[in-house]
Structures are given as structure tokens and as C-alpha cells.
């Protein structure tokens, strides 16, 4: 199990786009994952307010969900997104980093079901939530 966690961490850190976004995998294991992304002016969606673009939050949530699937004890290896729905509750506060937490709450031989939340410094009011289905692939 520990081996798989190390593998998943290395895998996430080897993803070119995760690197481009500046993602840090802060916690992973047992079907759960946590990623943080520092504030970055290149990712601004509305230049008048400095709010991060929803697309960057989507990319983060997608990565976090994938990591959660791979860390699940019954997942044999890789995964790919089948579908992902994102709900945007509010704008992330400019200047603050964004954290996401994903939980793989059910897994079958072929499909993993995942939920995730994104927050900024105010952890009680989510910025966005996601829910999706992912493939379960062998090694």
C-alpha cells in the first residue's frame, strides 16, 4: 500500500500540466487526496478583480480526483476521467492559494466514483465542488 502511495505521488509530480499549474500533492492515501495550488497571476480569469479562472480550478479538481482513485486500496493502477461536473459556488479570493480534497467513495472493477471540494483560506465556504466517474485500469 505504501508503495502505491509513493508511486501515485511520483506520478502526480511527473504530470507536465500539474507542474505548469504549480500543484503540490499535500496528502494522499486510502482513496483520498489533497492538492494545493499557490496564487499565480498567469491563471487569472478576470483581470479587473484578479480572480483565478474557473478552468484552472477544474484542472486542479480533475487531478485531485484522479489521484484519489489511484490511491484507493482496490485500484490496480491508472485511471482516466469519464465525466466530471464542476459547480462554482463563489470566486476564489485573489492572492490566496486554493486547496482541493477528493474522495473516491465507491469503486467497482471498472468505474470509480469521486467527489471533491475546493476552498481558499476560508475553509468553510467552498469555492467549487466536483463529482465525477473515472475508469479503473490495470497496470
Amino acid at each position: 500500500m505504501v508503495d502505491k502511495t509513493v508511486l501515485a505521488r511520483q506520478f502526480i509530480e511527473a504530470i507536465p500540466h500539474a507542474k505548469a499549474l504549480g500543484l503540490n500533492l499535500t496528502d494522499i492515501g486510502e482513496g483520498e487526496a489533497e492538492i494545493s495550488m499557490p496564487y499565480n497571476e498567469q491563471l487569472i480569469g478576470d483581470p479587473r478583480t484578479g480572480v483565478i479562472h474557473g478552468g484552472a480550478v477544474s484542472a486542479m479538481l480533475d487531478t485531485c480526483c484522479g489521484a484519489a482513485v489511484m490511491s484507493h486500496p482496490s485500484a490496480p493502477g491508472g485511471t482516466a476521467t469519464i465525466d466530471l461536473r464542476i459547480d462554482y459556488m463563489r470566486a476564489a479570493t485573489p492572492g490566496q492559494s486554493i486547496r482541493t480534497h477528493a474522495t473516491c467513495y465507491h469503486i467497482t472493477r471498472n468505474v470509480a466514483f469521486v467527489r471533491a471540494t475546493a476552498v481558499d483560506d476560508d475553509g468553510d465556504r467552498p469555492v467549487a465542488t466536483a463529482s465525477g466517474a473515472f475508469t479503473v485500469e490495470g497496470r
Partner: protein, 172 residues
């Protein structure tokens, strides 16, 4: 009775291209992903210009699912903003400079967005087009499709709902 003479082509083209450029270039994240837009009349096609940093799975390799989602969402928001503003761009009420600076010009806000991943995104350019299912006073529903080599074989499609910018409240 004679209808007014149509504007010279360059005038029309210059006005539309300048407005579109302002709409797209004003957003840092669109530049980060290097998404550009091609225009035919009022029809837009988003182009995701391939770069190594867009890769999500280095072993296949394939585009990052999050990049695909972001590309679809950017195409939806830009197309919706464009169609929303187009009549006012045509009358000259909105100029390119206003799009960048005028505080009163707001953009649609994403409420939710769902992406279906149909096949893996290949490491090359991708294209997307958005279709506005319904655009009301407050809400809009938009569908987006994305393809690479063959338009008939979509690699992803998405649907999203957006909150339309509200006009400033009239003084009572």
C-alpha cells in the same frame, strides 16, 4: 427609399477583429493555455495550440483532462460573451478598448460545467465550438464540442450553465 450603403469590408473586419482580440487577450489564463480564436462572421472556433505543458499523462502521452475541461469552458465563456456583445459591437456602442477597461462591461459567470471525455486528447492542436442552447436575461445554457483530426469524432463535449451579467440597476 434606398437602403444605406454597406460599410467597407475592412471597416467591418477591423472592428470585429479588434473586439474579439480584446475579449481574448484580456484574460491571462487564456494566454497561459495559449488558446486562440478564429472568426468567420460571428462564428467562433477555439484553438488549443499544443504545448508540452498541456500533457496530463506523459506515458501515452495525452492532454490533461483538466486542460480539456478548461479549453471547453473558455470556449463557452468567450463565445457566450461574444454573442452577448456582438449587436453592441456592431453599432459601435462597445469598442475594443471598452472591453478591456470599462468597469460596466461584465462577463458571464460559470454556474456549473460538465465534461464528457469521449477519447483521449492526442498531443496536438485541438478545436472547439460552442452552441448557445438558450440565453435568457439571467441564465444561459451552452453546449461545447471539441475535436482534433476529424470533426465527426469528438474527443470531448461539455455543457454548462452561466449567470449573465446584469445591467446596472436603473435609478428609481
Amino acid at each position: 427609399m434606398a437602403r444605406t450603403r454597406p460599410e467597407p469590408m475592412q471597416v467591418v473586419k477591423q472592428r470585429r477583429d479588434a473586439a474579439l482580440k480584446a475579449l481574448v487577450d484580456g484574460v491571462p489564463y487564456v494566454r497561459f493555455l495559449n488558446i486562440t480564436f478564429e472568426r468567420r462572421g460571428d462564428e467562433l472556433t477555439g484553438v488549443l495550440n499544443f504545448d508540452e505543458k498541456l500533457i496530463g499523462n506523459p506515458f501515452l502521452p495525452a492532454l490533461h483532462g483538466g486542460v480539456t475541461a478548461a479549453f471547453l469552458e473558455v470556449t463557452a465563456v468567450i463565445t457566450l460573451s461574444w454573442e452577448h456583445m456582438f449587436p453592441r459591437i456592431e453599432t459601435g456602442e462597445i469598442e475594443a478598448e471598452d472591453i478591456l477597461k470599462d468597469e460596466n462591461i461584465r462577463f458571464p459567470k460559470t454556474i456549473d460545467f460538465t465534461v464528457d471525455y469521449l477519447r483521449s486528447g492526442l498531443p496536438r492542436d485541438a478545436y472547439a465550438r460552442a452552441f448557445i442552447n438558450r440565453s435568457g436575461r439571467r441564465y444561459a445554457s451552452v453546449r461545447v464540442e471539441a475535436w482534433q483530426d476529424n470533426h465527426a469524432k469528438l474527443f470531448a463535449q461539455g455543457t454548462g450553465h452561466f449567470l449573465m451579467p446584469q445591467p446596472p440597476k436603473n435609478k428609481a
